[in-house]
């Protein structure tokens, strides 16, 4: 055993004392010198690219702006823009990038009819063809695909069904989400049944993007979003559906209660209680009061009290009053209980008066705090 170790040490030593070691270090030195040079070159390239972009932008921006002012704002033209007059070399990648960014800025800040005209201008400059090409070759470039999809959505250009299906089944979530956004923006309500069953796997940011895509369309119908609630799915999915229900004020108490009582994910139950409150689920008041006595987690309790403040119609004031009066319970609970009592005012006026009469100095402070007009969040 010992001799083996000695042997190993000996061989290591002889390596360090022999020719191999200096050569190795020299190579490493040369490598790091080389990499350092690459770094410098890289920095220069970044600087140059930035400089080039700026100089192109400085040239293109005034031309494009005046063009938009003249044809869209003055002439009210909606299509068939005399693009040749711009004399831009749109085949050049840098020009394309600059034009695209400028037009995006315009489209995102100017809306209404004029905004629509700008989308047409974007389309007529040939951005649709390139985007169509990119999404067909989705495999090679994630950013290009995502960008092209959002461009196509802006231009409201149709995409072939098979290409869309392929994109929606992509293994990359980014691509799937942008395909969903495209569908929602372009087809609106018709896309709900295609998109909503497929959103599993998205994260909360994706959910927010999809939410924004839906609420920024002019959809006002009565599509039943609640059919997609499912406690076994992720929080992001359920949260998205509940946010949409709240936005369109669609109450489905049964579905929400299924989430409340499920043990899958406490975040989902919390959000479901919150949604009950925001959707003014009047029939859930008694049920929440009962649930309060079963539930042990503080977060759930606070959420229930808050919801009772929103949806309550006097059936929960006993509970709220008891929570407030119980000086041994947590301050956060008491604060919210009082606020919810105040929120149920027509029903709770007598109780509130009684509380104010009975209350000691300490609790009076609590009442003042909750009622204070300058305290907005408790």
């Amino acid at each position: 055993m010992l001799s083996k170790i000695e042997q190993a040490i000996y061989s290591i030593r002889s390596f360090f004392e022999g020719e191999g070691w200096p050569i190795l270090v020299t190579i490493a030195l040369a490598m790091s010198f080389l990499l350092w040079t690459f770094c410098l070159i890289g920095i220069t390239i970044f600087y140059y690219r930035d400089y080039r972009y700026r100089s192109y932008q400085a040239k293109i921006y005034p031309v494009l702006r005046d063009f938009i002012y003249e044809h869209i704002l003055i002439e009210n033209r909606g299509s068939h823009f005399p693009i040749d007059r711009l004399a831009l070399d749109l085949d050049k990648a840098i020009v394309q990038k600059v034009v695209r960014n400028i037009l995006h800025e315009f489209i995102f800040t100017i809306g209404g009819e004029k905004g629509k005209s700008m989308r047409h201008l974007f389309n007529e400059m040939g951005f649709d063809k390139e985007a169509q090409y990119e999404i067909r070759h989705a495999g090679n470039h994630v950013i290009a695909t995502v960008r092209s999809l959002s461009d196509l959505a802006l231009m409201e250009v149709e995409i072939q069904e098979e290409v869309l299906t392929q994109l929606m089944n992509s293994s990359r979530t980014e691509i799937r989400v942008s395909a969903f956004k495209y569908l929602l923006q372009v087809r609106g309500e018709q896309a709900f049944d295609i998109v909503l069953p497929r959103i599993e796997g998205i994260n909360e940011l994706d959910a927010l993007d999809i939410y924004q895509a839906i609420v920024s369309t002019d959809y006002v119908g009565t599509y039943a979003f609640s059919q997609w609630l499912d406690a076994t799915k992720s929080f992001a999915v359920n949260s998205l559906i509940m946010d949409l229900m709240v936005y369109y004020q669609q109450l489905d108490e049964e579905k929400l209660w299924q989430l409340v009582v499920s043990d899958e994910n406490s975040q989902i139950s919390l959000k479901a209680i919150n949604a009950l409150g925001k959707l003014l689920a009047r029939d859930s008041e008694v049920r929440l009061v009962v649930f309060y006595s079963i539930e042990r987690s503080l977060h759930v309790k606070i959420e229930i009290i808050k919801a009772l403040g929103r949806l309550g119609q006097g059936k929960s004031i006993d509970l709220l009053e008891n929570i407030f009066k119980d000086e041994s319970s947590v301050l956060a609970l008491r604060k919210h209980a009082y606020r919810s009592l105040v929120a149920q005012k027509p029903y709770s006026i007598a109780r509130l008066r009684k509380i104010e009469d009975e209350v000691d100095d300490h609790d009076y402070k609590l009442i003042r705090y909750v009622n204070h007009p300058m305290v907005h969040y408790i």
């Binding site: 350092w36 927010l208 993007d209 924004q212 956060a332 705090y369 907005h376």
Partner: protein, 478 residues
């Protein structure tokens, strides 16, 4: 004797080799995670979050102690961040100057009745002020008894804050307008629960700052501040972004960090006895998550969102670094049970050992290495050509790494508008190992010695709570 010397050489050699491997890995990993971040940014409109009504709320908590001169501008700049739903909680930590009076006058503050849950320990909160102006309804000023540490003040802010996320910053930090949007985007764009997010910090020393707002970033003119800027760029873009790839970030700096309030509270809040309270907090949050078998992420984003005033005198710099070194040592001691403890998963097996071996021991190894070199020189046991060759290599490698992090920084965004600045920064990489690095090593060693033999800090009071939904303590003051 010869065997003995050889085994010392072997230990040093092995250490250096490991370090080299770590750096090469960081080089690779940081490029990948920065690239990933930028791709995401390119393919998405940042404004979507800003314009969304379902954006989660954030409480900005900023402690102020004797900041009378700058407080008004700084608070004003915090009030102009771009985000739909946030509040600003300024904690006046018993300032001896007129910080509070200035705030009261400027923002038309009045005292309000209040009750506070002391969810995390802090000194007594004396009063809470709100503004009479509706336009400042997001502002809350907490006046508390001085707790002697930033940790105590931040804890007070956490107790008062009402949103689920806490952005912890210093009032003298200058934040980018889109700080909240960027950080919250990182929180939401994840598959696990994100308990903390940080971003790159830089020096504001020579940047043009007008009324608490950054107008133009510039490289610090003063050499010490410039060294620090370079050190920050390297440690954030190469170090933090590299570890970000493995979800193994050891620390979210105290200058700018967004935290999940629930986890902050379950972990017991900031430790006012710690000298490195930011790192200690993240350590404890990670351990709390592991204790409760919860998956989590700590993230970093490469964008610079915060400009802070770096110490520009040798005395101030060494004092700061001594404190950091002591803080690090405290963490190594208090949380040593995490070392190679499989229960703490990645944290116990990678983050903590890395911190211990490469962050904590590095200065010690360097000093020992120098002594060993001296010994070899004195006993003529040195192979000069080889030693010089090695030295040149190490030097070149360090210059390369620094330049690489500058490259990454430029990849993210071109922060310096003047070309001169970038050339200067690249040149600084050459003198840093001689001038700046020794100061850091010296301060660290001094810190360790002070921590070992110097004034004792109270250790025991590490409040830790086991569960993730703690019942807030019901102690109510005033």
């Amino acid at each position: 004797m010869k065997h003995f010397i050889f085994s010392i050489e072997f230990v040093f050699g092995f250490y250096c080799l490991l370090l080299l491997i770590v750096y090469v890995m960081l080089f690779r990993m940081s490029s990948i995670s920065i690239r990933k971040n930028l791709r995401k940014r390119k393919s998405r409109r940042v404004q979507t979050l800003m314009e969304s009504e379902i954006a989660p709320g954030v409480s900005i908590v900023a402690p102020a102690y004797n900041e009378s001169v700058t407080i008004v501008n700084n608070v004003r700049s915090l009030m102009t961040l771009f985000y739909p739903r946030y509040e600003v909680v300024i904690v006046n930590d018993g300032s001896k100057d007129d910080t509070l009076e200035k705030l009261i006058k400027e923002f038309d503050l009045v005292q309000v009745d209040f009750l506070v849950d002391y969810l995390v320990p802090c000194k007594e909160i004396k009063a809470i002020y709100k503004s009479r102006d509706i336009s400042h309804k997001r502002l809350t000023i907490v006046d508390k008894v001085n707790g002697g540490s930033k940790a105590d003040a931040v804890n007070a802010g956490i107790n008062v804050a009402s949103f689920p996320y806490i952005l912890n910053t210093d009032v003298d930090c200058v934040l980018a307008n889109d700080t909240l949007v960027q950080l919250m985007e990182a929180v939401l764009d994840a598959n696990e629960r994100v308990i903390a997010v940080g971003a790159t910090l830089r020096m504001s020393n020579s940047s043009y700052v007008d009324s608490g707002m950054l107008v133009e970033a510039a490289l610090p003119k003063q050499i010490l501040a410039r060294f620090q800027e370079m050190e920050y760029i390297r440690s954030y873009l190469l170090g933090k972004m590299g570890w970000n790839y493995l979800n193994c970030i050891p620390n979210v700096s105290g200058g700018l960090g967004l935290f999940d309030k629930e986890i902050l509270i379950s972990a017991g809040g900031y430790d006012s006895h710690s000298l490195g309270e930011d790192m200690e907090m993240v350590t404890r949050m990670c351990m709390t998550m592991c204790d409760n078998n919860q998956k989590y992420e700590v993230k970093y984003i490469p964008q610079t969102l915060c400009w802070t005033e770096g110490p520009d005198s040798l005395k101030m710099l060494t004092r700061q670094r001594i404190r950091w070194a002591r803080g690090l040592m405290q963490i190594m001691r208090t949380h040593r049970k995490a070392f190679l403890n499989p229960k703490y998963k990645k944290f116990g097996l990678i983050v903590f050992p890395y911190n211990a071996i490469f962050e904590f021991f590095a200065p010690i190894m360097e000093i020992l290495g120098i002594f060993f070199y001296l010994y070899l020189i004195l006993t003529h046991g040195i192979n000069w050509p080889m030693a010089i060759l090695l030295l040149i290599f190490v030097y070149m490698f360090s210059v390369f790494l620094t330049s690489f992090s500058i490259l990454l920084d430029n990849y993210v965004y071109k922060y310096y508008k003047r070309r001169k600045d970038i050339v200067r920064l690249c040149l600084t990489a050459f003198i840093e190992p001689f001038l700046y690095h020794p100061i850091i090593v010296y301060s660290s060693i001094k810190g360790y010695i002070q921590e070992l033999f110097g004034k004792k800090h109270a250790w025991g009071e590490m409040k830790r709570k086991g569960t993730l939904s703690p019942l807030p303590s019901d102690r109510i003051k005033k």
